[in-house]
Amino acid sequence: MTEATGSNDYSGRMDDVGRSGSGMSIEEQMGTSASISQKSLDMEDRPGGVGGPIGLDVGTSNIVMAQNRGSKISIAKQLNAFFAIPQSKFTKQILQQNDVVFFEHNKMYYIIGDSAENFANMFNANTRRTMEKGFLTLHEDEGVAIIQAIIKTLVQRPKKFGEVICFSVPGEPLRDNHGSSNLSGHESVIKMYLETLGYTPIAINEGLAVVMAELGDENFTGIGISMGGGMCNICLSYMSVPVIMYSIQKGGDNIDVSVGREVGLSATKIKGIKEGGTDLSILPKNKVELAIAIYYTDLVNHLVSSLEQVISSSNKIPKIADPVPIVISGGTASPKGFKEKFESALQSIRLPFEISSVRIAKDPLYTTAKGSLVMAVSEAK
């Protein structure tokens, strides 16, 4: 299996998107009635662009694409967020001059991807999301069009029609009231869009993607956990067979919102502080750090107790003789000291099998995309 290489090889973000500023019709790009200002290059036009299977992590916070390029895995990432500002000729000029990815709709400019966060911080406001708690949100009229535009900045039409693309989907959320989620609707929308691009889309559970990316040496047996912005996805896999898959609708966003509410800052600002170097292994130095530590503990405890609840009550689990590893990925699992906090919480629960180790994935932000790529490659064979 190929290895992801250093940060210099992570292409993508806005660098992978062409910028003609031509006002190309978005109907051509997305089949909607808006218009987009940046022209995405076709795959053959992209520098070093190649065909082949693709792994796509469709997360609440980020959308990440992984593809084999020779002996390396190329990764491209885009923030799954947008920021709307009123239209004006001057604004348009500024946006184009600064290579900002946006599209026009209903007399508004929708700034999408990583640029949206810069704008939100500039206005001390929050970015808006196309997804909430792991699923496409029903609160945003333009959500579907925007997520398609963001995906389009990362995934171009395939060189060969019908190329396999594996995209991540969440597990069914654990609910106290047994309500149903919109998992199938969410999956269908992404699937249909990828089909219109010319791919053969296959959904893969996000937790299973973590297992596929990280637990090859353990025969794909173990627990994969993806801790994203909107939710945590958990999968117990036995030899690559997903035995248990579920999600909890709590993630990094909950920490941002809760801390922001406590200290009077925007959630986007808190996200920046949190990702700027949170260390959960040392005593907090100020009220923001204290609030972050408290809400992290709450999230970890909630996750670990859900593991006990779901696994202990399941009658589907096969006999597992050897201790199994837990691997955790996602931006929310990135802070220093997170692993120790998780291990400590794990001591308080009982499971029907032993845990051999807890580890953080090698590239926590890209694990799901890489696991989806592993699946896409095997499906393409």
């Binding site: 299996m1 090859g216 025969n219 794909f220 036995y238 030899m239 690559s240 067979v241 035995v243 009658n315 589907k316 689990i317 096969p318 006999k319 003789a321 490659v377 095997s378 064979k381």
Partner: protein, 149 residues
């Protein structure tokens, strides 16, 4: 050349767990959930061993195997069940090996299949088998995972 096994399992998850584990242990596996065309399947695949996961099948479905004594002649049959052996599957002149497995123990099923094939002389005894080296094992794992020959 790998041994081939045909598995009948009504429950997708149990079937997948058994088949993946057998594959991992060198078997070529054909997994089916419907039993009404079992005869055609067995004739077409001519497996070295047949595994029926009894859980999830209706009694009437299991009875359909009793008509297959001609096809199953000479092919070992393993019945996987959560409970003790019973007479829900009776096939004339065919010896049935029961594998009680609750919770499902895919490795125990593989061990049962191996011991039956060893006893029949089809599979070398475990002590006589040459285990692949670390590098070969990784290559085999990868090839198995990618579904390569």
């Amino acid at each position: 050349m790998p041994f081939s096994a045909v598995i009948f399992s009504a429950e997708a998850l149990r079937g997948a767990l058994i088949s993946k584990t057998l594959e991992k242990n060198g078997y070529r596996v054909y997994l089916y959930n419907k039993v009404h065309s079992a005869g055609d399947i067995l004739e077409a695949k001519a497996p070295q061993i047949v595994i029926i996961d009894k859980e999830g099948y209706f009694p009437g479905e299991l009875e359909s195997f009793s008509l297959l004594s001609g096809i199953l002649k000479g092919i070992p049959l393993v019945i996987v069940s959560n409970s003790e052996a019973d007479d829900s599957i009776h096939i004339k002149d065919i010896s049935v090996h029961w594998c009680r497995s609750n919770p499902l123990d895919p490795l125990a099923i593989v061990a049962t299949a191996n011991s039956i094939l060893e006893a029949s002389g089809s599979l070398p005894a475990a002590s006589d088998r040459i285990e692949p080296s670390g590098k070969e094992a990784i290559a085999q794992d990868l090839m198995g995972f990618l579904g390569m020959e």
